[in-house]
């Protein structure tokens, strides 16, 4: 009997935003107008880029220290931790997570950010880590501030952290944003709301007193679910 080729689960379009989401003005001229052409799983199953633990610096996961020059960054220290799983419920081990964010004042260090809020000499706002064998990760950072943008009058982005992941396959790549619970800007944000109701809530981290470290930092749990290989009869029998 030949073993069936495992297939990557499809992108679940009920979970993802439509690429054209006119309330997010930049999407109008920057999203394709023709349907995507479905292609066979061989491309999806290509291995992800190759990397290893020794490419990640010892402080890369700690944004409160990885760019410190003469002190600690200003702002509220937070722990962000969780698991990376695939949509079959399996942990995704040893996978790369890259993050970037604004500082506590709502200013990105990127040179094209002209928002009139201070930069923090001790904060870059970028970090990365690998999940462990159980798909767990842990980052230490500063709670990012909200910031204004030009999408519509009096537009403010809710506090968020950008996340980039590859997962185990070329097709499991995910670029997303993590939001904070109770943020009043969420209901007004066209980027957050571009994702369907019932799905967008998965991008909101949960406050956790168990993850919170006494006298040090509040803890937020953010689990991330990527596309995974669908179980085949052979796998199910194991």
């Amino acid at each position: 009997m030949t073993e069936p080729t495992p297939r990557l689960s499809p992108r679940d379009w009920a979970s993802h935003p439509p690429s054209l989401s006119p309330a997010y003005a930049s999407s109008v001229l920057r999203s394709p107008t023709r349907p995507l052409i479905p292609i066979a799983a061989s491309l999806a199953e290509l291995a992800q880029p190759v990397y290893g633990h020794d490419m990640i610096g010892a402080l890369d996961h700690d944004l409160t220290r990885n760019a410190a020059r003469n002190g600690a960054p200003l702002g509220e220290r937070i722990i962000v931790a969780g698991r990376v799983l695939d949509d079959q419920g399996r942990p995704v081990p040893h996978t790369l997570i890259e993050v970037w964010q604004a500082n506590a004042a709502g200013r990105y260090i990127h040179r094209i950010d002209q928002h009139d809020a201070p930069l923090d000499p001790n904060f870059l706002g970028a970090g990365r880590t690998l999940t462990d064998a159980q798909g767990r990760y842990r980052l230490l950072t500063i709670k990012p501030g909200a910031y204004p943008w030009g999408n519509h009058p009096n537009a403010w982005r809710p506090q968020h952290i950008h996340f980039s992941l590859f997962g185990a396959h070329l097709g499991s790549r995910l670029v997303t944003q993590m939001y904070f619970p109770g943020d009043p800007l969420l209901e007004l944000d066209p980027i957050y709301n571009s994702a369907p109701a019932g799905a967008r809530e998965r991008m909101v981290a949960q406050f956790s007193i168990d993850l919170t470290q006494e006298g040090f930092a509040l803890g937020y749990v953010f689990d991330i679910v990527l596309r995974g290989l669908q179980a085949t009869p052979m796998e199910a029998a194991r």
Binding site: P49, V50, L174, R200, L226
Partner: protein, 190 residues
């Protein structure tokens, strides 16, 4: 379990994803050299721009390229990358040059065992794009192999030209990505 929704990469990804390319004080995990000088294979320089629906070159796109080596094999380990000089993956932001071009230095990939013509897999993200896009770059001169390629077979013939890199007078392969318009690039649901 349900997938986490995709969001735009936003305008400020550079210091997180390609920091050294933009002069930030953090090393990049990958740069635009997919193969180091001396790596086995035919050297290729690939250059292009990403255009929006008004024909404006996008200055805040991230182009990622993954490819097989000259024998058509994908990289399996970091050790292999270090001994061969073939990294198999590269990244470049279009805001790091005045002309908004991406430029990759690599080697021409071999055809794969399952009949795919030599190609580069591309992942494209940018401000304004809520779901990253996949496309492929083929090499114009491989037309005999294109006729047998299972992915190209699914692309309407009149749109296949959007997936072809062509050498210019200096031998640099040119490949522009058009998000919209009459030359809209073919994007795949991988």
């Amino acid at each position: 379990m349900k997938q986490t929704p995709s969001q735009t990469v936003g305008p400020y990804f550079a210091y997180g994803l390609v920091p050294s390319q933009y002069g930030y004080e953090l090393n990049s995990l990958w740069g635009s050299d997919i193969a180091e000088p001396g790596c086995a294979g035919v050297p290729v320089t690939l250059m292009g721009r990403v255009f929006d629906g008004q024909g404006e070159a996008v200055f805040d796109a991230l182009v990622e390229i993954q490819q097989a080596d000259a024998q058509g094999h994908h990289l399996h380990s970091l050790e292999q990358a270090r001994t061969t000089g073939f990294r198999g993956f590269g990244r470049m932001g279009t805001g790091s040059r005045e002309d908004r071009c991406f430029v990759f230095r690599t080697i021409k990939p071999g055809a794969s065992a399952d009949g795919h013509a030599p190609h580069l897999d591309v992942i494209l993200t940018l401000r304004g794009l809520l779901n990253h896009l996949y496309t492929r770059i083929y090499f114009e001169e491989d037309s005999a192999q294109h006729a047998r390629d299972p992915v190209l077979a699914q692309v309407p013939p009149e749109r296949r030209a959007t997936l072809m890199a062509r050498p210019d007078a200096t031998g640099v392969y040119r490949f522009d990505i058009h998000l919209q318009g009459p030359e809209e690039t073919v994007f795949f649901d991988v």
